[in-house]
Symmetry: C2
Subunit: 674 residues, 2 copies
């Protein structure tokens, strides 16, 4: 292959990218111009993929962590034969196109993860590499490498400034994930100007400290890049980062090396000048020379061959390793195996009860054998979050088949790595931390929801009920803050049996993350019959204990640990001659999806006396209690004390709830009779 053709190919990437940005009158030309050389080398000489089957399991993963350079990726996807037409490139950043401003998983074939918020792709890649290592260790045989692929990425100064890159890199180095190869676009420019103004750390030394293999190359010297990637691939027990010294906006006579090339179109004139500088016909737009097209499209044939070879190998594997193959198929299908539900625990009713975090652990361990691709861990709180799968080993460089992962005190990287594991496929990942620290992982929770992937977040110590650790550790706003994110399903079970079905829902849910919100403190395990069966969790809300009369005087509702208060309130009201229904509402999102008749059967519109209770921000409960109802919540921070004291002092008691219910009932009655 000639140097000349290479150059033509690289410049095709460049000109496609700037043409698209120019047409959109919006976007980021600087990065595609600067990283075209390195990306070209990676995509044509190393990346093992099949454009005709973007979901081929053993493909190399490519992550554009610097997602603002999306046109680089879209150009490559189009050129190498993915289902992304030139018309789509022309509709860059337009309504209904497959080429949104930042790459979106599920929107565009070949986009492995949604990026843009910096650092996320970097950390997703760690999760993908964890998944690859786990699957390889679990299934590979000396004569059959079922899983053997790399996770490549392009990362930017911005990615490396973000804290999440530290957490993820430290973890990857510790785990010796040798199949990570990241190209660092060291262009010396960030939005505010030269990186000298704020980013002068010795990046490679920092990565050495994490245990990474590091190299430095001229990012416009394709030979150097080729050699460096070759070498990086050989580092089997070290993740690799290759610092590519590049010029942002390469080729643009007036904007190369300047932040002005970063986030705005070059302008018509500058595009023309850039094309001239690149020996390109300035009058041609979205132009792909025929020899370039032919050269890139070799990827289609190569991909077909690679996958055919792999398919053949898989066929042999199925013949030789029948037992393993059966499990493998189950992993890859993404469905839960038949019969797994038989193991879902049923807890005996019990007044002293158990914490829902403990019930969660019981569920995890009950289903662990039947769902062998359930893999997870905690951010250094395994014993508190109760996330450990017993006797399933710990994932480490000594044992990549361990199903428990020590993520360390790295909530953000954990969340993003869980996303990466889910994106990779083959695994059913979960991870735990204290609910308060969901804030640390919040940007990644949002991306899971946007990407419609289904990691399971296990959030324990979910309220003032954690007691003495005090307000720094007591969630108040967190229930509302998570409910506000579109496509997150939050479930806060009221007892052990609700916890079983919360897990069932989470495990079966496919197109979004589930947050299980669990108590530190013990809760009663309620008596159940067919009518108030815990499977009603799958309807989001249900009647846990009904009124004596057909039409209750009052409806009491709540979630999690406060359901018990509602039940005690019911007793107090009964003494006062008021007949209450108690509704357990573990999940707003699920309840909202039910049909109107079910919703009305739980919350009959004609019962206007309603009181809700939840140990968190009251925002939004108005929707369920209605105009005449009363919301009991907490609109201030917590306190450090034994939890029963805090509940009492904050007025979250059956007595207060009964007072509220009585007043609510009487006010409505007074209005009626007045």
């Amino acid at each position: 292959m000639s140097e000349e053709l290479d150059q033509l190919c690289v410049n095709t990437i460049r000109t496609l990218s700037i043409d698209a940005v120019e047409k959109a009158n919006s976007g980021h030309p600087g990065m595609p111009l600067g990283m075209a050389d390195a990306a070209y080398v990676l995509w044509t000489k190393f990346l093992r993929h099949n454009p005709n089957d973007p979901k081929w399991m053993d493909r190399d993963r490519f992550i554009l962590s610097a997602g603002h350079g999306s046109m680089l990726l879209y150009s490559l996807l189009h050129l190498t034969g993915y289902d992304l037409s030139l018309d789509e490139l022309k509709k860059f950043r337009q309504w209904g196109s497959k080429t949104p401003g930042h790459p979106e998983y599920g929107m565009t074939a070949g986009v492995e993860t949604t990026t843009g918020p910096l650092g996320q792709g970097f950390a997703n890649g760690i999760g993908m590499a964890i998944a690859e290592a786990f699957l390889a260790e679990t299934f590979n045989k000396a004569d059959h490498l079922v899983f053997d692929h790399y996770t490549y990425g392009i990362v930017s100064d911005g990615d490396l400034m973000e804290g999440i890159s530290h957490e993820a890199a430290s973890l990857a180095g510790h785990l010796k994930l040798g199949k990570i190869v990241y190209l660092y676009d060291d262009n010396n420019i960030s939005i505010d100007g030269s990186t000298d103004i704020t980013f002068t750390e010795d990046v490679l030394k920092r990565f050495e400290a994490y245990g990474w293999h590091t190299q430095e190359v001229d990012g416009h010297n394709r030979g150097e890049i080729t050699d460096a990637i070759s070498k990086a691939r050989k580092m089997v027990d070290q993740p690799s980062i290759i610092k590519c010294r590049t010029h942002i906006g390469y080729g643009s006579p007036n904007k190369q090396g300047k932040s002005s090339s970063h986030g705005a179109p070059l302008g018509k004139e500058e595009v023309a000048l850039t094309k001239e500088a690149l020996n390109w016909d300035a009058d041609k737009h979205f132009y792909i020379p025929v020899e370039v097209k032919e050269h890139f499209e070799e990827a289609v044939q190569r991909g077909r061959e690679w996958q055919a070879e792999w398919n053949m190998s898989m066929e042999n594997y199925h013949n030789v390793y029948k037992d393993e193959a059966k499990i493998l198929d189950q992993f890859l299908a993404g469905d839960l195996p038949d019969g797994w539900l038989d193991n879902l625990p049923v807890f005996e009713s019990n007044k002293s009860g158990m914490a829902t975090r403990k019930a969660s652990n019981a569920v995890l361990n009950a289903v662990a054998d039947s769902i062998p691709n359930l893999v997870g861990g905690s951010a250094d709180l395994a014993a508190s979050d109760k996330t450990t799968l017993e006797n399933k080993g710990f994932f480490s460089s000594f044992n990549y088949a361990g199903r428990n992962i020590h993520f360390g005190v790295r909530e953000h990287a954990m969340t993003a790595a869980l996303n990466g594991m889910a994106l990779h496929g083959g695994l059913r990942p979960y991870g735990g931390t204290f609910f308060i620290f969901s804030d640390y992982g919040r940007p990644s929770i949002r991306l899971a929801a946007l990407s419609k992937i289904n990691p399971i977040f296990v959030y324990t110590h979910d309220s003032i009920g954690l007691g003495e650790d005090g307000p720094t550790h007591q969630p108040i706003e967190h229930l509302m803050a998570l409910r506000a994110i579109p496509n997150v399903t939050l479930i806060r079970p009221a007892d052990a049996n609700e916890t079983s079905y919360a897990w069932k829902y989470a495990l079966e849910h496919k197109d979004g993350p589930t947050a299980l919100v669990l108590t530190r403190q013990s809760l009663p395990v309620y008596e159940r019959d067919e009518k108030n069966h815990a499977r009603n969790v799958e309807k989001g809300a249900y009647v846990l204990v009904d009124s004596e009369k057909d039409t209750p005087d009052v409806i009491l509702m709540g979630s999690g640990s406060e359901v018990q208060i509602a039940l005690d309130t019911r007793d107090i009201l009964a003494e006062k001659g008021l007949d209450a229904r108690v509704v357990s509402m573990p999940s707003w999102e699920i309840f909202e999806k039910q049909d109107k008749s079910y919703k009305d059967s739980v919350l009959p519109p004609n019962v206007r006396a309603r009181v809700s209770i939840e140990a968190g921000s009251p925002h939004g409960w108005e929707k369920w209690v209605g105009c005449e109802g009363t919301v009991i919540g907490i609109n201030h921070f917590g306190a450090s004390a034994p939890y029963k004291t805090i509940y009492r002092e904050f007025g979250l008691t059956p007595e207060k709830m009964a007072d509220a219910a009585q007043k609510c009932f009487e006010d409505i009655n007074a209005t009626r009779t007045s």
Copy 2:
């Protein structure tokens, strides 16, 4: 001073700490036992403070970033003579005590910042050191060092695993903040076990890469610790970290060096065994030997002398440098200078208008001269957030008096550093990023609110109105998620003049953070008179354009950019014969604080036909529109396209709002007449 007395003092810290944890039956004994030696050396040989005046301006700051070791700090505060009685230590973690589970700023004299969520204290310290450097550079003279103090801290493995520590350390190294001296408690233990299981990076090499000075000592060798701190203090242009190799749970025969000593009481028996091992009378609880008491209390006298000396120096400064002293007094008073309001810009009404981010920049620059301690920056988005103070210089190691700070792509560290600057005192800090990235700084936003400090967060690009960057960058849930945090005031102004008063509110607000939520896109500047004056922002909501009739048929309400849609809706409704009032509601929190009569004057209870519009999660608006009203919002993710297209496609248009208003009005009327 004898080695023996030193040992007795250190063991007093240890026994006080374990006695308090034991009595509370809750807490973290391991860290106080392990770090007592180092903390003792720091507090008695180096820390320049005045227990009688914990707010003395030129005191050294001490941060316990590993806040779970709170008993270490409480023991030191009690012993060195702060207003924290032994009784308070006995009430550790109890309701109403000054000794909550984790240290809380404002709760306990001598606690410089609220810690517990890991990494936060580490980053607060960077902000404090920025403040010190700025003030020193601004006011110090060769013969008068008004500001000359250190920021000390104790940081843990957990702190250093968190991403925020990376961001903050990289920034501090870049800024050459030499007056930071952190002791790293390298105890090899995290909650889940040995740090070997997840944290094997070379920490000191990593900090060298950031440009820090690094040392390593035996954390139980007080001589080594003394020498290392002495040396660290001399490194004027490098922040310092001293790795102290310690044994967690030092002295406990069965728990030393084990994670079991970390987060639970040792148990009665083990406490006795530990005391024996420390040559302590096991029968004595909360025991302070008289010579220990005397020795520690020397801090009171020393502190008095230090401060007296400083006061004297300040007096001289006032005599010699009268002009500077006047400004200095203004900085320290914490109040805004007289007359600053005269500079608050008033914008002419204008249909094509301006983006509120631009108006924000105009306000900043209009008041910059009159508020010389207004200091801030952006997380690498200064040009987009419009946060730059013109001609006020950039804060750097070449110019610590620069008022603009390049925080880099480090939203989390920026937010925590702003908190640190506010905690330090003397400055009025603000910082900007895109609203979507408030998620990255969320744990620090919460701590600002909990700590009742008043940094100002400037969040631009506040909705789908940012357009082509797409759903990864378009906030949806963020308004609700911030409104749910107690004590955060969120203001989303509807035009340039509302932006002026939003800034006024933020600058005058003392006991909590303010989030200013601003548009990328231009908005009209509305016509104003006395009745609808933009100063009404300070009431949270007000009538922007009233109905023709005394009692409107419909109330239309919204915030920010959607107020314009409400106004256009009013015109459409007028054509249909419906008379609408338009309420601009920039801040729920402020409106909630108004008295009932004002609230009822804006939203008269008898007008039940109400429609709200906001380009974000609809949660919670029910409260304002009532049962029969309609909420127009967005309960799904955004899209990548020109913003007007997105508004149209998502149904946020005057036509749709008019339809909703008409239906709402008719439904209510139908009920009335039926």
